[in-house]
């Protein structure tokens, strides 16, 4: 795939791994870097990038998975909406298996709810147009990457006066989550890889205040192996040179000021909620979006009576600590025992982007010895004989 495959070139990856090792040596101390976005976590696991890094460079997987941080009560609300009479409930495939207190949307579908997987919120609007006699609700979730798509869809619905269409809005914001992590005590972090696609919308400027206040470097990074390795290298270089700045590795997409039509649509359609509950992190101030009063007709929360009951996560689940990077997935007592991707107890096991699900799925720290696999090939250029490695 053009502009994807090139960024997975093995020779170039090996080159960046060499450069990272070189900088890590110069730095001569262990560092912990957090990739904020779940999409970046996914790339790291899919391509086994952790195994290519020096021992002293540790990656901590951030809270940037909007499915993972969705509190159970909101899933229950989604199911209540899907079970309204005549309802067509449209959602991204990601949310289908997420468990609430009353099971998942997939189970609601099995019980008779008309739940449809769509690729775009525009497809949900099309469903409303092709089924004018039935209410259609779209399950809006995601960070600032996805929120403009939903905002633009609501604007299109308003233009078309599509009265049977509304959105159940659960959009969240990245910067408040970062601030929460930085304020939390006991967190050892030396820098952040900023979420590239969120930043295509919000730009790199919003990170400047974070960098100024907390003195942690941020490099906005892309999603391919070369993007992530370059971002790690850029963070290490800042640490070596004693600098602390916002830098932009993903400059093929991200502009400092962001995308102005997208930001304008966000400002027009949404307002910032005073509080929003994040699964595992708790209630964070000014961290979520609601639909603005001018578009109340398209707000499912206002059109339908929702149970909106908070429901606690399983007491053995330690997702909160994992989302904050204080605990590794395999250090949780439920990991792989009570909690698996088939039967997730907590947020991080739910989505394929969640740190626990990623570790479980790709085997790092899972049934095999913790972190044995990622650490095995410290040198990317050398390809050790696999059989002898496995015979251990």
């Amino acid at each position: 795939m053009k502009f994807v495959t090139e960024f997975r070139d093995p020779a170039s990856v090996a080159g960046w791994v060499r450069e990272i090792a070189h900088l890590a040596q110069r730095l001569d101390r262990p560092v912990a870097l957090m990739e904020v976005c779940g999409g970046q976590t996914h790339t790291i696991f899919k391509h086994g990038l952790e195994a290519l890094l020096p021992e002293t460079v540790e990656l901590i997987h951030g809270p940037g998975c909007p499915v993972c941080i969705m509190p159970r009560g909101r899933i229950d609300d989604a199911i209540a909406l899907a079970e309204q009479p005549g309802m067509i409930f449209a959602t991204f495939g990601d949310a289908l298996r997420v468990p609430g207190a009353r099971g998942s949307l997939m189970q609601a579908k099995a019980r008779g709810a008309d739940v449809r997987v769509v690729y775009s919120p525009l497809d949900a609007l099309t469903l409303a147009q092709t089924h004018p006699d039935r209410p259609v609700v779209f399950f809006g979730l995601g960070f600032e990457t996805t929120a403009p798509a939903v905002a633009m869809t609501i604007l299109a619905a308003a233009r078309a006066q599509q009265a049977n269409f509304s959105v159940f809005c659960n959009h969240v914001l990245v910067v408040p989550a970062l601030e929460f992590l930085l304020q939390a005590s006991g967190l050892r972090l030396d820098g952040f890889i900023g979420p590239g696609h969120v930043s295509a919308v919000i730009g790199t400027d919003p990170y400047q205040a974070v960098v100024d206040r907390y003195q942690k470097p941020v490099v906005v990074g892309g999603f391919e192996p070369i993007d992530l390795l370059q971002s790690i290298w850029m963070l290490l270089l800042q640490l070596v040179e004693g600098r602390c700045a916002v830098e932009n590795q993903y400059h093929r997409l991200v502009k400092p000021e962001g995308n102005s039509p997208a930001l304008a649509a966000l400002a027009q359609v949404f307002t910032v909620r005073e509080q929003f509950e994040w699964r595992g992190l708790g209630s964070l101030p000014r961290s979520g979006l609601a639909i603005a009063p001018a578009f109340a007709a398209f707000d499912a929360e206002q059109r339908y009576c929702l149970p909106s009951q908070a429901s606690e996560d399983s007491p053995v689940c330690q997702c909160g600590l994992i989302l904050q990077g204080k605990l590794k997935p395999w250090e949780c007592s439920a990991f792989g025992r009570g909690c698996t991707p088939d039967h997730p107890l907590g947020a991080c096991m739910v989505s394929s982007e969640g740190a626990c699900a990623a570790y479980y799925k790709y085997g790092h720290g899972g049934p095999r010895s913790p972190m044995a696999a990622p650490r095995r090939f410290a040198e990317a250029s050398a390809r050790p004989p696999l059989q002898s490695e496995l015979a251990r």
């Binding site: 795939m1 090139e6 940037g64 525009l122 995601g142 403009p148 696609h197």
Partner: protein, 81 residues
């Protein structure tokens, strides 16, 4: 949350709705250019350009020169192995 893939705008589907066909390496889909079209850059000017698509919307233009720069950066680093 952020699965977005690069593709090239190949045709306008509906100028009023700001919809265009984007070719994602052989997979075609009608995509909204609402985040890209401005009075300065009407939809006609986007045909042939590379964009990154997320959830049916072109999120931002892909700067081809910048992509090349990212790819060739390693060649300019001269740390001895």
């Amino acid at each position: 949350m952020c699965l977005a893939v690069p593709g090239q705008v190949v045709a306008i589907v509906d100028g009023d709705q700001q919809l265009a066909t984007v070719d994602l390496s052989g997979v075609r889909r009608s995509v909204s250019l609402a985040c890209l079209v401005t009075p300065d850059r009407p939809i006609e000017q986007w045909v042939g350009r590379w964009v990154v698509v997320h959830a049916g919307f072109a999120l931002e233009e892909l700067d081809v020169a910048a992509a090349t720069e990212t790819l060739t950066w390693i060649d300019r680093l001269t740390t001895p192995a």
